[in-house]
């Protein structure tokens, strides 16, 4: 505890074998990207370095690898934090992680001492006559001259808390190796989580409001599995961004220095300048004014959503219909019975309002852009989430049009992908709605970004055929006319199309929707048939993919078509999977 080391770069210093990161982390291509290395020391100069309790550095359990000689083996690594050594998180991390706890304590204190505080500051408004307090612990302490002891206790608790936070911070380390990302945490109960990089499903960078004010961000490496994510919370915003770039670059399998330069350099130039300028202004202010984009790859968003359109689209959603029904019901109820019904619905309206505001705030500042390492989608006004999903991590996608959007020609795109969350995490996966609302041109651009394999003219044809409905030369296999009673309006649209790399399911006449399943991600195919379908000689085809919001089955297809599709799709899926190299997408 008394061992106070001289101030060092602190948290960024490797924990294991002493090794100064700066010279080593300089990659071969540092000539064109000098920024991430140089601003590092002064960037964290503001970071509080509590010189007091500095426990012994955690011993890496003897598992530490020998320091890797850098250079040719780790090309494209730009941040000193991803040099293959153990590093610590941002020193302000405990403040954010324990901040909630402290807030609760303060809240409890204020709630209890409300009367007293009121009396203290605005004696005129106090209901209690002066000098008379309701009995509470403070009176007890004052009355029994226990002030010193109470103060000591509070101080001791504070010190213990500080030490605990500090300890947990010191023991919370991460390492970004060539093949995996590892995190160790815990003081008494150590946990060590290691995620292989070739299974990374995406990397997202979340900046909650408070963290953003402090210039910090949460980095989450999305794994394939239940509760399989590796979280690095919190890092400095700029570091988080470069670390994310490094993780993706390492995961891409771009081992050759040449490939790495080609892949990342076009984006690096202006970004680094902007970063430097932004660093002067200060992360917090910058983050609020300009927004998320501090990426190494600074790509241009392919879609811009005007705020008006976003607001209108939220208003024209299904919830508005629900709201209208609700209003009508209440008005009728109020006019037929008592007016008091009107007051009981106020909470419901507040709920609706909150829903609108939330969904609007989530959709604001939206951008989607292709990067060398996958699609980058950014969302959110208050809590900004920016996620990079590498190629081949999208298991299904859907283009759909709610009824009320039809006059405006708006569409929404959503995807299925592995979000690596725990079963208990019920918060919505923000990335699932890739395009909250967009015109046809937007949808085509988004699809082009999400599935870069297909040429754009093919997408256009697909949009004509698949999304807008049957043209005279319709490649889709649709419901046979004998069974059109079962799909009264949509029987011409209801169908499927199997190409060599994707399965398309087209459904709906009023609510038009097209589901796309890349065959390389298709897990299995099923056909089922009940008694009614049997009487009509039809069957239902289901594409089995990872769970998500994309509807995966289409019914009332001719039985022979369905059975043939089962065989063909299975065979094509095998072929597509055999040729799929996206787990190391640049290799």
């Amino acid at each position: 505890m008394t061992d106070s080391r001289p101030p060092e770069p602190g948290w960024a210093a490797p924990v294991g074998p002493a090794l100064t990161p700066q010279p080593d982390a300089a990659p071969p291509r540092q000539a064109d990207v000098p920024t991430p290395v140089t601003p590092q020391p002064d960037e964290y100069a503001h970071a509080p370095q509590p010189g007091g309790p500095t426990p012994v550095a955690p011993q890496p359990d003897g598992q530490d690898r020998a320091p890797q000689p850098d250079g040719p083996e780790r090309p494209g690594v730009r941040s000193p934090l991803s040099d293959g050594e153990w590093h610590r998180l941002h020193p302000l991390t405990p403040l954010l992680r324990g901040g909630l706890f402290l807030l609760v304590i303060i809240g409890v204190f204020i709630a209890n001492a409300r009367e007293r505080l009121l009396e203290l500051f605005v004696p005129a408004f106090s209901e209690v006559p002066p000098g008379e307090y309701p009995p509470d612990p403070v009176d007890f302490i004052l009355g029994n001259n226990l002030l010193l002891i109470a103060g000591g206790v509070v101080l001791a608790v504070l010190v213990v808390l500080l030490v605990a936070f500090r300890l947990s911070w010191r023991f919370h380390t991460f390492r970004i190796g060539a093949d995996d990302v590892e995190v160790r945490s815990g003081v008494l109960f150590r946990t060590h989580r290691r995620a292989p990089l070739d299974r990374v499903q995406g990397v997202n960078l979340t900046r909650p409001m408070i963290a953003r004010l402090l210039g910090m961000a949460k980095l989450e490496v999305v794994g394939a599995g239940l509760d399989a994510n590796v979280r690095l919370e919190y890092l400095g915003t700029r570091d988080a961004d470069t670390v994310r770039g490094d993780i993706l670059r390492l995961a891409s399998g771009r081992r050759l220095a040449a490939a790495s330069t080609r892949g990342a350099s076009p984006a690096a130039g202006p970004g680094s300048l902007a970063q430097r300028a932004a660093g002067v202004v200060g992360d917090g202010v910058q983050g609020i004014v300009v927004g998320e984009d501090l990426s190494d790859a600074e790509p241009e968003s392919v879609v811009r959503i005007p705020v008006g359109r976003l607001a209108a689209s939220r208003l024209l959603g299904g919830s508005t219909v629900l709201l209208l029904v609700f209003v009508v019901v209440t008005v009728v109820a109020a006019s037929t019975s008592t007016l008091w019904v009107l007051f009981s619905v106020v909470p419901a309206f507040l709920g609706f309002a909150a829903y609108y505001v939330r969904s609007l705030a989530r959709g604001l500042r939206y951008s989607i852009a292709p990067t060398p390492d996958g699609v980058r989608v950014t969302f959110g006004l208050f809590t900004t989430v920016s996620e990079v999903v590498p190629p081949g991590r999208i298991h299904a996608l859907e283009v759909r049009q709610p009824l009320l959007w039809r006059p405006f020609g708006w569409w929404a795109v959503s995807v299925n992908r592995l979000s690596g969350r725990g079963a208990t995490d019920t918060s919505t996966d923000q990335f699932a709605a890739v395009l909250p609302v967009g015109t046809r041109a937007d949808v085509e651009r988004v699809l082009g970004v999400l599935a870069p394999g297909l040429p754009p003219e093919e997408w256009a044809a697909l949009f004509e055929d698949g999304v807008l409905g049957p043209r005279p030369t319709d490649p889709f296999t649709t419901t046979p006319s004998r069974a059109r009673l079962l799909r009264l309006f949509s029987w011409r649209r209801n169908g499927f199309l199997l190409t060599h790399d994707a399965l398309f399911l087209r459904r709906g006449w009023l609510w038009r929707s097209l589901s796309v399943f890349p065959l390389a991600r298709l897990q299995s195919v099923g056909v089922r048939q009940g008694p009614l379908a049997r009487a009509m000689r039809t069957a239902t085809v289901t594409a089995h993919v990872i769970p998500g919001s994309v509807p995966a089955s289409v019914g009332v297809l001719d039985r022979d078509d369905a059975v043939r599709l089962l065989d063909d799709a299975s065979a094509s899926a095998v072929a597509a999977a055999a040729g799929d190299r996206s787990h190391r997408w640049a290799g």
Binding site: Q523, S524, M536, H544, I546, P547, A571, V574, A578
Partner: protein
């Protein structure tokens, strides 16, 4: 098909090593396959389309194929012409002992509920409890009645690149799972299953909806199938 759930050769034999198949049994199985017309159709059709059909060799050569050891030999189909066809290839089916296990366990439930209801009637003397008990009894009895036929509707085919699984008569379901998509293969058996030497094999992919569970395989068949599937999946391994 005249097979009752427990013909002599498929009688539970917990005390005999299940791998020990006498020639007589194998002969009986062949005969029973031949006496059903659908069985003949199966045999005849299994020669067609060899390209897609070249099955995965499951048993080490020279042994009796454990997958078809004491199993059903014909998949009952719905009468409607529009049914999902059986198609080409040989379907492997569940062990006959599975029906017995199901009958015993469901029969036990039936008897227990019945006994409990009777006891309640005798001791407390009221009778409204027959309503819930009756529902349970009816459902169980119905399940018991269709079990023998339902058990026959399960079938799986090992094709060159994928496993095809089917089940159901009234509500038919056919699934094709490429071998490379398998994440793991699960074998479970309860105490009753163990007594009759059967096991349940579950095939897990990344998609929860795949839902391929083969409930009543002979234990040897289950293990052999598992090993084969893992081996085949290994050579065709793909990402998620």
């Amino acid at each position: 098909m005249t097979n009752t759930p427990g013909p002599p050769e498929s009688a539970p034999s917990p005390f005999r090593p299940s791998g020990d198949v006498t020639p007589g049994e194998a002969a009986v199985r062949v005969v029973s396959a031949e006496e059903s017309p659908a069985g003949e159709a199966l045999e005849a059709s299994s020669v067609v389309s060899p390209s897609r059909e070249a099955p995965v060799a499951v048993a080490p050569s020279g042994e009796v194929d454990a997958l078809d050891d004491r199993t059903f030999s014909r998949i009952p189909e719905p009468r409607g012409e529009g049914r999902l066809p059986l198609g080409d290839g040989t379907w492997h089916q569940l062990a006959r002992a599975y029906v017995l296990v199901q009958v015993i366990s469901q029969g036990a439930v039936l008897l227990l509920v019945l006994a409990a209801a009777v006891v309640v009637q005798v001791v407390f003397g009221f009778s409204w409890h027959w309503i819930p008990a009756g529902v349970v009894l009816l459902v169980t009895a119905f399940g018991l009645a269709i079990t023998p036929r339902q058990a026959r509707s399960f079938g799986y085919q090992l094709r060159r690149d994928d496993l095809v699984f089917r089940r159901g008569i009234l509500w038919q379901r056919v699934v094709a799972v490429p071998y490379g998509r398998m994440q793991l293969v699960d074998i479970t058996h309860g105490p009753l299953d163990r007594g009759f030497g059967i096991a349940q094999l579950k095939l897990v992919t990344a998609a929860a909806s795949t839902g391929v569970t083969i409930p009543g395989l002979n234990q040897r068949a289950a293990e052999q199938l598992r090993d084969t599937l893992i081996e085949v999946a290994e050579t065709r391994r793909t990402g998620l």
